[in-house]
């Protein structure tokens, strides 16, 4: 506790770094995966290449991925951009399949009913397909949130600062309190972001609770 109170400002700064390095790739992964998942669900020919391709991404171990991504986009390995890009790729790897399943779960009759009422394609997507895909989409998003928050710590190994820095530093200098703080805060961040996602889901999908009760 003593250590923590002396290093509060450092821990605070690392916490902010960690949040940024988590939230940005999660948001980017959603932006990329939702359209890809929609394509995979609606076009049979797009399905296999998209799902296999993005699935393979996840097979690449994280440390090598950071090291490969950096020269590809021309930034240093320890740059936050490297971490963001690599974690976005992981997020996409997990989320495209989830999004494909989510859009696949929208009942065909409901889409036909939407067409029959005169929804143009765009209106049907926003007003019908996306909300009804919501529940399934949300459950894979939760996996992405937790996995991203935990993967951010790996970035500390290549020098990108985050709560993971508390592990690497703590190990090097033999400060147990630092390691412990890093561990606890990472878990807390994961839980907190997950809780926010769940709460946002409840607010955005009020019909689910109404129907369940």
């Amino acid at each position: 506790m003593n250590w923590l109170s002396q290093n509060l400002h450092i821990v605070g700064a690392l916490l902010v770094d960690h949040l940024v390095l988590s939230i940005v790739p999660i948001a980017l992964a959603i932006l990329v995966s939702v359209p890809l998942g929609w394509l995979a669900a609606r076009y049979r020919r797009a399905r296999t290449p998209l799902l296999t391709g993005t699935g393979l991404l996840y097979a690449i171990p994280s440390l090598p991925l950071f090291i490969i991504v950096a020269p590809l986009i021309g930034v240093p390995v320890r740059s936050p951009v490297t971490i963001v890009v690599a974690l976005t790729l992981y997020g996409v790897a997990l989320l495209v399949r989830g999004a494909a399943d989510a859009f696949g779960s929208v009942p065909r009759e409901t889409m036909l009913a939407a067409d029959a009422m005169g929804h143009a394609a765009w209106a049907r997507f926003w007003r019908v397909e996306l909300p009804l895909a919501g529940p399934v989409l949300l459950s894979s998003l939760r996996v992405v949130v937790v996995s991203t928050v935990s993967l951010v710590t790996v970035g500390a190994v290549v020098g990108a600062s985050s709560l993971g820095t508390l592990f690497t530093d703590g190990f090097q200098r033999g400060i147990e309190a630092s390691i412990l703080t890093g561990l606890v805060l990472t878990v807390v961040v994961a839980f907190a972001l997950d809780a926010i996602v769940v709460l946002a889901g409840r607010l955005a999908m009020p019909w689910r609770r109404a129907v369940a009760t």
Partner: protein, 270 residues
Amino acid sequence: MIEFASVRKEYPGGSVAVEDFSLTIPSHAVAVLVGSSGCGKTTLLRMVNRMVDPSSGTVSIDGVDVRSMDPVKLRRSIGYVLQAGGLLPHRTIADNVATVPVLEGRSRRQARKDALGLLERVGLDTALADRYPAQLSGGQQQRVGVARALAADPNILLMDEPFGAVDPIVRDQLQTEMRSLQAELGKTIVFVTHDIDEAFALGDEVLVLRKGAEIAQRGTPAEILANPADEFVASFVGAGSARRTLRIREVGGRSVVVDGDDRPTGVLAR
């Protein structure tokens, strides 16, 4: 007026849903298409609002080929009622009814207000307005489906086995209400069903279809019952069956109508 002129529909994969169908439905009339499952009824309906385009032939509304119309606009101008209502499960009842007006740019608040009036019109308590479809009974959902189809005040209503999923008592009630609603509104209605009793209950004119949407017989319910055109129609309407062959028996000074099994179905009015 809706006109089908030598319409044919072959789906990709080669199944021919409609062989060669021609029919003119005058404005304000109710045409009931009745036939067993797979005979092409849904395909015919969907050709009116361009959810299906014919392989050949034309469908026109008031003399205008529907192919020359924008499908989205066309669909908004036609009410469509599906089995089990086809309601959007994530929208409240009021929002479901308000769907088309909102798509057309009406403010949500105004559209929801109008929706309440429509709910009353189809016999629903406006207290249901903020519920979700899954919280309603099948019969209530069906009424919401009708209210939604009426929301944009369309001239044409397409109804695809709308009462097929509700129990017989509710179905009778819905049919009765639909007749009185129609008496008031005078829409042009194409109503599709596989239930011959429903067809006879609702149609000014009934078309019995066989596979490929071939018209086996066309006429008023009375004409079809009195003179089925052929074996197929006779068996489809159940001509000769116990419930269609009624006789009169005198009981206590009244004429009781009994069916072929001697089960009373009513008394002759005096």
